[in-house]
């Protein structure tokens, strides 16, 4: 075991997979000589050369479209979209092409590809450098969507994604890069399967469901709540598609109360799917309404600090919502 920062865990996974399999290729804007605008791909260009670590022209639809062709041609592309906010030009290539190639060809073609995307707010990034995009993509059959929280998961899920025969959207919260640290198995081939959620903390009074940075906030809230005698089960959802409804329902069965937390706008957000699933399949367990605590319904995160603070969901807001839910 070694303590690693979130960003290093992602870097290491890329490095190891590139070393392990020469079909793996990294491409995107500034991923080469600069090592990525966040430094995630630092050193890969020097080590693996420019044919495998490719500084592309500035065109996201091209990055994904070319990656699909690479996958068909026998490579395993790991495209980076510089900011989640800039993935939208590639929406068609992801939704119509990458996600459907296998289904539409009845298994004649596949599309192994991992799209790495830094997302999320709290970094003074305002409307166009803060967005959460998981709701758009988790809705798409044919895609898998993962959002790691611990460095160990960041590494293990990325490795699994790269080895997956289907396209995976790998969302990394950019605020966590240098903020979150944790133990990562140093030796061996550390992978984490795509699919299972994990209970990060057990408690009997309510379940908190979160992913990415929000797990961090939820765990902090849980500590505060614990001091008040409220014990929260905190479930790190990790994989949004396919969703581990079993672990989710198991938690609700234990606590009878569900608080679903995400940073993305509330209306039509991914939390609705979790809440609807709990309501439908866990109805008998519930003693209170499944409740969502999410980013407000304005276009992403406004810039100025008072506005950004207003937008972001944090431990304090989670604790307050938990108290209300427990008091229901």
């Amino acid at each position: 075991m070694a303590e690693k920062r979130f960003i290093d865990a992602i870097h290491d996974a890329l490095h190891e997979e590139m070393a392990r399999d020469e079909r793996v290729i990294v491409l995107g804007e500034d991923v080469g000589r600069k090592g990525g605008v966040f430094g995630v791909t630092e050193g890969l260009y020097e080590q693996f050369g420019e044919a495998r670590v490719l500084d592309t022209p500035l065109a996201e639809s091209m990055i994904i479209g070319v990656s699909i062709g690479m996958a068909v041609g026998g490579l395993i592309p790991v495209p980076e979209i510089q900011f989640a906010d800039f993935i939208h030009p590639a929406f068609d290539q992801i939704v119509s092409e990458a996600a459907r190639l296998r289904y539409r060809s009845c298994n004649d073609f596949g599309c192994p590809m991992t799209i790495r995307v830094p997302f999320g707010g709290g970094v003074h990034g305002a409307l166009y450098h803060s967005q959460s995009i998981e709701a758009f993509y988790a809705h798409v059959p044919g895609l898998k969507v993962v959002v790691p929280y611990t460095p160990a998961d960041a590494k293990g899920l990325l490795k699994s994604a790269i080895r997956d025969p289907d396209p995976v959207l790998y969302l990394e919260h950019k605020k966590m890069y240098r903020m979150v640290r944790g133990e990562v198995p140093a030796a061996g081939d550390h992978t984490v399967p795509i699919g299972p959620a994990v209970v990060r903390r057990t408690g009997r009074d309510l379940s908190i469901f979160a992913y990415g940075l929000m797990v961090h906030e939820a765990l902090q809230a849980a500590t505060v709540l614990s001091a008040e005698g409220i014990e929260a089960d905190v479930v790190d959802v990790r994989t949004l598609r396919p969703l581990d409804t079993q672990t989710i329902l198991g938690s609700v069965q234990r606590t009878s109360r569900a608080l679903i937390v995400h940073e993305d706008n509330r209306f039509g957000g991914f939390g609705a799917e979790i809440a609807a699933t709990i309501a439908e399949e866990g109805f008998r367990y519930l003693d209170a309404p499944p409740t969502r605590l999410c980013g407000p319904d304005v276009p992403a995160v406004p810039f100025s600090p008072p506005l950004e603070d207003w937008f972001m969901v944090d431990a304090e807001k989670i604790a307050a919502a938990a108290r209300r839910l427990v008091a229901y």
């Binding site: 479209g65 070319v66 690479m70 041609g73 092409e97 289904y103 060809s105 009845c106 298994n107």
Partner: protein, 344 residues
């Protein structure tokens, strides 16, 4: 006649079976492909008209472009990234007529999609034909990616992708030209310019007379060939393939073609095309022109013609029979292959 025109004519005159080194056997193979494609296409319409197929989208008029271009490929080694008019191209690349009818009728054994896609969405991994979707121009980037993979892996494969001139207005097409030029990839952009994007004439689609003019600004060669003359297309495509094979990069090959039918069985082209325009298309029909050329060159005797005609008819009838006898997909299979299934 200006010097430029004289040169153009000379260049065209130079394109003969002899200058291209094509044997009679090759010429007759091309002819067979043209006739086969036309016959398959006509049968697709017949199936639609008789209520057996829900929809047709047709390659009639595009056969010269496709046979000329695909004939220049190494059909085993190279990739075809087609579009919905690629009837002739996929036949020549190896798919038998029966498979096209299975696709047309949405049967379980449709090799491209198992009955999941609309007619016209070709694909076949064994023949290195990439699965087609409907959004236009997306496939152009896929062809570029395949060519990048070929370069990194050193396979020597060339990727040929087809699209209409309408699709060149999409961002993806332009992004593809740019990336391919930067990396000098072995990809050929075959733009089959039939003058219309459904009802929208070229004059409303672009401000230049040819799509090939687009190439220079991205740093690749652009050529326009006359799709009524199979050998003109073949000559241009052969040059493009040779360039690609030598590692000199991509070519934008525009081929002007007539659209001999409505856009699809859902369209009525009389609404937006003049009778003259439609009549002129028939005159420049590549099948008709090639037939005449082969006769003039003494390659196609009446006997040979009848033989080929007969063979084509047999294949079409057999293909239709196979397809009509094939089962429809079982709904219990509909959830399969959203994702890869675990191996055995």
């Amino acid at each position: 006649m200006s010097a430029k025109e004289a040169k153009a004519v000379r260049t065209r005159d130079e394109i003969t079976p002899e200058t291209l080194g094509l044997t009679h056997a090759s010429l007759l193979e091309m002819y067979y492909c043209l006739r086969l494609a036309r016959a398959v296409d006509e049968r697709m319409w017949a199936l639609q008209r008789s209520g057996k197929a829900a929809f047709v989208i047709s390659g009639q008029g595009h056969e010269g472009a496709q046979v000329g271009a695909v004939y220049a490929l190494d059909r085993d080694r190279d990739w075809l990234v087609p579009f919905y008019r690629s009837v002739a191209a996929v036949l020549l690349k190896g798919m038998p007529p029966a498979e096209l009818f299975l696709i047309q009728l949405g049967r379980a054994t449709d090799p491209s999609s198992g009955g999941r896609q609309m007619p016209g969405h070709y694909g076949h991994s064994r023949h290195k034909i990439l699965s087609t979707s409907s959004p236009v121009a997306t496939q152009v980037l896929h062809a570029v990616g395949i060519a990048y993979a070929a370069k990194v892996r050193g396979t020597g494969e060339v990727a040929l992708t087809e699209l209409g001139e309408g699709a060149t207005s999409e961002g993806d097409f332009n992004e593809a030209l740019n990336f391919a030029a930067v990396h000098r990839l072995a990809v050929i952009f075959l733009v089959e310019n039939n003058g219309y994007a459904i009802s929208v004439p070229v004059s409303k689609q672009m401000a230049v007379p040819t799509v090939s003019a687009r190439a220079a600004g991205f740093g690749l060669p652009g050529v326009t060939a006359d799709g009524s003359h199979v050998l003109h297309v073949y000559a241009a495509a052969r040059e493009a393939v040779a360039r690609a094979r030598r590692g000199e990069g991509p070519t934008l090959l525009e081929v002007t073609v007539p659209r001999l039918t409505a856009h699809s069985s859902d369209d009525r082209q009389e609404k937006y095309r003049s009778a003259d325009d439609i009549a002129h298309s028939k005159e420049i029909d590549p099948v008709r022109v090639f037939t005449e050329e082969l006769r003039a060159w003494g390659v196609l005797t009446e006997e040979r013609r009848r033989e080929i005609e007969e063979r084509v008819r047999r294949e079409i009838d057999l293909g239709t029979e196979i397809a009509e006898a094939a089962p429809l997909p079982d709904p219990s299979t509909a959830t399969r292959y959203v994702y890869a299934e675990p191996g055995p």
